[in-house]
């Protein structure tokens, strides 16, 4: 439908051949770059996913908020009472932790199905694979935004003002970047190995109890530095502490950045090696 002179318009070219690993890394980076340029498409697909899931329901996506509110109230009140903790302090801690956890859990579990659930589109059109990863990230961010309402309500009830928000920006960027890496890794593993989704669900179940989410590190009887071995702990801490006004030691930021770097190296390696294989596994 373009009325331009075809000699002026640069024609799109697809040039594909078997290439070495270093060139594959370049192709993987190109894919990520193109996905970034076309982020609007990922956003649109994610919006439709959420819209579709709640179409016809009266409260729509606000069911997400209500369920989260019920969950946090139950955990917050029950454990504050059982463990003789200060209700206000524990409740706010749990509210933030559980909302963050729900994001991580949804992100990782949904990641396993990123490519499989879009197989029809993948097999009918050449698109950057990172678009499907963005779609999943945006979808989970939309859910996170609904859950943030609960935190706002909790803070209003207890009349708490977030201590500082400056550190939240770098933390949010780190979380976003890691979400993409997780999506790539689990997306590919979940497509290639059909056993990955249930294994991941099981591991995430255990991680919920191992990670300081409904309990605090200060309640440990042993050297709390061991907790740093859990990659989720520093990443939770860099978001939680600034809001609650607790000090974040440099080691926590170093661990958070270190784990993120490691995650990205793994993601890039897997993506470079297997990106072109994704449609073959459908």
């Amino acid at each position: 439908m373009s009325d331009h002179d075809p000699t002026i318009v640069k024609e799109p070219v697809i040039d594909l051949r078997s290439v070495s690993l270093s060139q594959n890394v370049k192709l993987a980076l190109t894919d990520l770059f193109q996905g970034l340029i076309q982020w609007r498409l990922g956003w649109k697909l994610a919006l439709l996913d959420i819209k579709l899931r709640y179409r016809g329901s009266i409260l729509g996506p606000f069911w997400i908020t209500i369920i989260m509110g019920a969950k946090i109230s139950t955990i917050g009140i029950l454990y504050a009472y059982l463990l003789h903790l200060d209700l206000q302090h524990y409740f706010t801690y749990v509210a933030i932790s559980v909302v963050l956890w729900t994001y991580v859990n949804g992100m990782v579990n949904d990641s396993c199905l990123i490519f499989t659930s879009s197989s029809q589109l993948i097999l009918s059109q050449r698109l950057p694979y990172s678009i499907y990863v963005w779609r999943n990230v945006f979808c989970n961010i939309l859910i996170l935004l609904h859950n943030l309402l609960v935190i706002i309500v909790v803070f209003t009830i207890f009349r708490i003002v977030p201590y500082t928000l400056y550190f939240l920006l770098p933390a949010a960027i780190l979380w976003l970047v890691n979400s993409l890496a997780l999506g790539i890794i689990f997306g590919i593993l979940g497509t290639r190995f059909k056993d990955i989704p249930p294994i991941v669900a099981g591991v995430m179940q255990s991680l919920f109890f191992i990670t300081p989410i409904i309990w605090k590190v200060s309640s440990l009887h042993f050297n709390s530095n061991y907790v740093l071995l859990n990659p989720l702990y520093p990443l939770f801490e860099i978001v939680r502490s600034p809001i609650l006004g607790e000090n974040v030691s440099a080691s926590i930021w170093i661990a958070a950045i270190g784990y993120s770097l490691f995650l990205w190296i793994a993601a890039l390696f897997i993506f470079s090696k297997t990106r072109f294989r994704i449609p073959y596994w459908m």
Binding site: M1, P6, E11, P12, V13, I14, D15, L16, R17, S18, Q38, R40, L41, K44, L45, L48, L52, R55, Q120, L121, I122, L123, S124, Q125, R126, L127, R192, K194, F276, P279, Y280, W281
Partner: protein, 255 residues
């Protein structure tokens, strides 16, 4: 100028879940020589084997061969979906594929939403999207149904929507599967008219089909795939008589 160059192309699919496949199928593949093991002892099914050809402007190609000969795989490879592990493929020009009328169609969304979705997947501008929406509404004759979810459509209505959407824009290179020849007589007539328009405007056409009539009408070149090999490459007059094992006059006359 649009062109497609395929050199030493081989496509093989690794079989990871082979124990779930039926023994009969495995035996059949083994006997036909399409199963082999690579250096990692993985079992591979060879879909395309050492294919070479070049398509230039004006080539209207009919892709023939039995079911499972590798026609769809070749179409998908030329679209850039399967990236070759062995060989080289270069495609110049804008491509449109009509492989599956429901491709990218979301059944929970309304017809109109699906049109907009498809347009944003293809990266069309607002103005183009508007034009496409009108053209599809016009072709599909869905009327008020366009604002109902696609899952409420009859299969004929789904086909009209999918077909109208896929054929709204004429690309330089058009690749299609023969699914469009399904439907009632009225639809086929309407669809053929729309396709003919597209075929004339496209500079390269690749169509996978079983129908000699379609080839005789639209194609000036035929690629015959057999068990993943390119068995023959020539004009319809050369290839069809050997493929169908009867004189060309009889093939054209009968249809």
């Amino acid at each position: 100028m649009p062109s497609i160059t395929v050199k030493n192309l081989s496509i093989s699919f690794p079989l990871y879940h082979e124990n779930t496949r039926s023994l009969r199928k495995m035996t059949h593949l083994f006997i036909s020589g399409r199963l082999r093991q690579d250096q990692h002892k993985k079992i591979l099914v060879q879909s395309l084997r050492d294919i070479n050809f070049t398509l230039r402007q004006g080539d209207k190609v009919g892709l023939i061969g039995q079911n499972g000969a590798g026609k769809t795989t070749l179409l998908r490879t030329m679209t850039g979906i399967y990236e070759p592990v062995v060989g080289h493929i270069r495609v110049e020009g804008s491509i449109s594929t009509l492989l599956d009328p429901n491709a990218g169609m979301n059944f929970g969304l309304t017809g109109r939403e699906n049109i907009y979705l498809k347009c944003s997947i293809n990266g069309y501008s607002k103005k183009q999207t508007q034009e496409i929406a009108e053209s599809v509404a016009d072709f599909s004759e869905l009327g008020a149904y366009l604002d109902l979810p696609v899952r409420t459509y009859s299969s004929g209505m789904q086909l009209r929507l999918g077909f109208g959407l896929a054929t709204a824009i004429a690309p330089q290179i058009l690749m299609m599967d023969e699914w469009f020849l399904t439907g009632d007589a009225g639809f086929i007539q309407k669809a053929t008219k729309r396709i003919e328009n597209m075929v004339q405007n496209s500079q390269i056409l690749v169509i996978s089909t079983h129908s000699a009539e379609t080839i005789a009408k639209w194609c000036n070149r035929v690629l015959w795939l057999d068990q993943g090999f390119l068995k023959m490459d020539g004009t319809p007059e050369e290839v069809l008589p050997i493929y169908l094992n009867k004189p060309y006059e009889e093939i054209v006359k009968k249809d």
